[in-house]
């Protein structure tokens, strides 16, 4: 293992390594030249002679490359092949171990990927770190209108949205999708650009929208409802029985500002009176239905933003909302807004811990399987030891075997996780509240799975490595020999040939074993010799 590490070190710093070697050889040549000059040679002759004394430096550099790189890689690939062969020889063990681990790793990865997308992952927008959410519930449109009037002087930008469910059917059965009303600069402030057509602009949100009632649709809706048609821009989309013109498609992976909701249709606030008619909430001061987010100016802290916001003196507008009005407070919102988060954070953490324990059990299982396998392989291992393999080499074999099992387990675990993760998310949905979570396996999830696999490798190989200490060279050969000799009915010829085989193995394994001499002598086959030989082996 140390050698593999050295080789990797070499492979990454190869040019440096070669330069060092050349410098060293050049220093050598200079010393030789000085010595020759002291012996009375002219400087040029000494330089030439010193070069001749060195011989072919290029070959020497080449040879060192072989030493550092090729040999270690050879060793590693040899170990890998040996481990694969060992696993192929016991497919039952391999299947059970990989299966156990796949379930353990899969369950963990599935939960972690939910945890990751719900709690850890940042919104897929420009610079999510500078977004801040107006906390403590929902807000009315008049409050938003006040903030919007000052958005560029107080912040880098601000936007409001309100999650809705809309019926897209033109008649007949209703087709409900998750949607949202957004303010005009919503996409502009988030920094999300259209993959087809354009996004909404402040003009769409104004009174006299140039294109009439417009809508932006999600990548998913575009693929599902419009079959990914290139001419989707300009087509009609019926929302709550009112025709809208599709002006753009959002990029894949952008689900809106609400984590756990796939916002399929986005309309400007200007469309709200069209849909709700006299019921419109735009002018109502006591309708609390908006979420508001701001983008902080570069260098602006959340506290400064809070102070700026409170400077607007908006308290009269929301004093009636609760009996105990809190001052307006922004909170960092790099990970977006989510109603699910508050509801599921604690249960999720508990489940992650529980499933972690399940993995630990799976690891312990695999460790005992590996240990049992090592004990069952005592004979093979002791033959290897007798043939001159070092204990470290055997330990490496066990380690690489567990590594292969863990890697295969992790691979199957990932496949299992992508299936079970989706299943779990669907379980969270209710009829009123559809939960849609993008469970992309990003680097965090992959790193998590890799960490699980390495952890299980270590846990699973410690016990067998310790168990291997008890395996002695040639010990099981002795037992096998005795067992054969003990069967009296065994034909004499077979017995003696098995003995010869045993003798040969100790002849080749121990160069200094005097067994070799006894093998040549005719009395080798006698019973007394046999017992002596077994004590040598």
């Amino acid at each position: 293992m140390i050698r593999i590490f050295r080789s990797l070190q070499y492979l990454f710093g190869r040019s440096r390594h070669d330069a060092d070697l050349l410098e060293e050889i050049e220093a050598h040549r200079a010393l030789r030249q000085d010595a020759l000059a002291r012996d009375g040679l002219a400087p040029e002759a000494a330089a030439r002679a010193s070069r001749r004394a060195l011989g072919n430096v290029a070959i020497a550099v080449d040879e060192t490359h072989d030493i550092w790189a090729i040999r270690a890689i050879d060793n590693a690939s040899h170990d890998l092949r040996a481990a694969l062969r060992g696993l192929r020889k016991s497919p039952g063990f391999a299947l059970v171990a990989i299966g156990t681990l796949a379930l353990g790793v899969g369950a963990n990865t599935a939960l972690f990927s939910i945890f990751n997308s719900l709690i850890l992952r940042q919104l897929p927008v420009r610079d999510p770190g500078s977004l801040a959410l107006l906390t403590n519930g929902s807000w009315s449109y008049p409050i938003w209108r006040e903030i919007r009037a000052h958005e560029t002087e107080l912040f880098d930008g601000a936007f409001a949205w309100s999650g809705q469910r809309f019926d897209l059917s033109t008649g007949g059965q209703t087709e409900l999708v998750d949607a949202a009303y957004v303010s005009g600069r919503f996409f502009d402030v988030l920094g999300v650009t259209a993959i087809r057509g354009r996004m909404l602009t402040p003009a769409d949100d104004g009174g006299a929208a140039p294109d009439g009632p417009v809508a932006v649709i999600s990548h998913r809706l575009w693929r599902q409802r419009f079959a990914g048609a290139n001419d989707v821009v300009g087509r009609q989309l019926t929302v709550q029985r009112i025709p809208f013109t599709v002006v753009g498609v959002m990029p894949a992976g952008f689900f809106g500002p609400d984590v756990g909701r796939m916002t399929d249709v986005v309309l400007p606030f200007a469309a709200e009176p069209l849909i709700r008619g006299k019921e419109s909430r735009l002018a109502r001061t006591a309708s609390w239905w908006l979420q508001i987010m701001v983008r902080l100016k570069p260098g602006q802290s959340v506290e400064q933003a809070n102070a700026a916001l409170r400077g607007l003196r908006l308290e009269p507008l929301f004093a009636a909302r609760t009996s105990n009005p809190q001052p307006l407070t922004l909170a960092p919102a790099a990970t977006g807004n989510s109603a699910l988060r508050g509801r599921f954070q604690t249960p999720l953490v508990v489940m992650v811990v529980v499933v972690g324990l399940v993995l630990l059990v799976a690891c312990a299982n695999m460790a005992s399987l590996m240990l049992a396998r090592t004990l069952a392989r005592r004979r093979e291992l002791s033959v290897r030891l007798a043939l001159g393999s070092s204990r470290w080499r055997l330990a490496r074999l066990v380690l690489i075997e567990s590594l292969i099992v863990a890697a295969a387990g992790a691979a199957f675990g990932l496949a299992f996780a992508s299936w079970s993760g989706g299943l779990l998310v669907r379980q969270l949905s209710t009829a009123q509240n559809r939960v849609s979570l993008e469970l992309g396996f990003d680097w965090r999830v992959l790193a998590f799975t890799a960490a699980l696999a390495s952890l299980s490798t270590i846990v699973a190989s410690v016990a067998p490595m310790l168990g291997m200490k008890r395996v002695g060279a040639g010990e099981s050969l002795k037992n096998a020999g005795r067992a054969i000799a003990g069967i009296a009915v065994f034909p004499r010829a077979v017995r003696s040939s098995s003995f010869r085989l045993r003798c040969r193995s100790c002849w080749s394994s121990r160069r200094d074993c005097s067994c070799a001499r006894s093998r040549r002598s005719p009395s080798c086959r006698s019973a007394s010799r046999r017992s002596r030989c077994s004590s040598w082996s």
Partner: protein
């Protein structure tokens, strides 16, 4: 003064043994090792000078010696090699093996 670069006609593996032995006395750079071998063998053993370096690298790779940059007699940067604890063990083991081998060869040559 030998000016040849004849390939080492030593027994295979002997060069490493000799280098390890040469380093018992303390840290040496490559040139120092070559000169030590030449002087200690009364000019009989002449190591192919660039062949020394792959051998040194093999010792480094196995962790039997370690290398440190220092300044040589003529004020150049030179790599000095020192024996490690594992190197000492290896030297003892190889030396025993070598003695056994030479003994066996002599025994064979001695039989009539």
């Amino acid at each position: 003064m030998g000016l040849t670069n004849a390939p080492s006609d030593l027994l295979p593996g002997t060069l490493e043994l000799l280098i390890l032995k040469a380093l018992v006395g303390g840290a040496k750079h490559g040139y120092g090792i070559v000169e030590h071998l030449r002087l200690a063998s009364d000019d009989v053993l002449r190591v192919g000078e660039s062949a020394l370096y792959p051998a040194l690298q093999r010792l480094l790779f196995n962790g039997w010696v370690k290398a440190e940059w220092g300044t040589s007699e003529n004020n150049r940067r030179a790599r000095y090699y020192t024996l490690t604890a594992r190197g000492r063990r290896q030297l003892a083991a190889e030396r025993a093996e070598f003695d056994r081998m030479i003994g066996a060869i002599q025994q064979v040559l001695g039989t009539t």
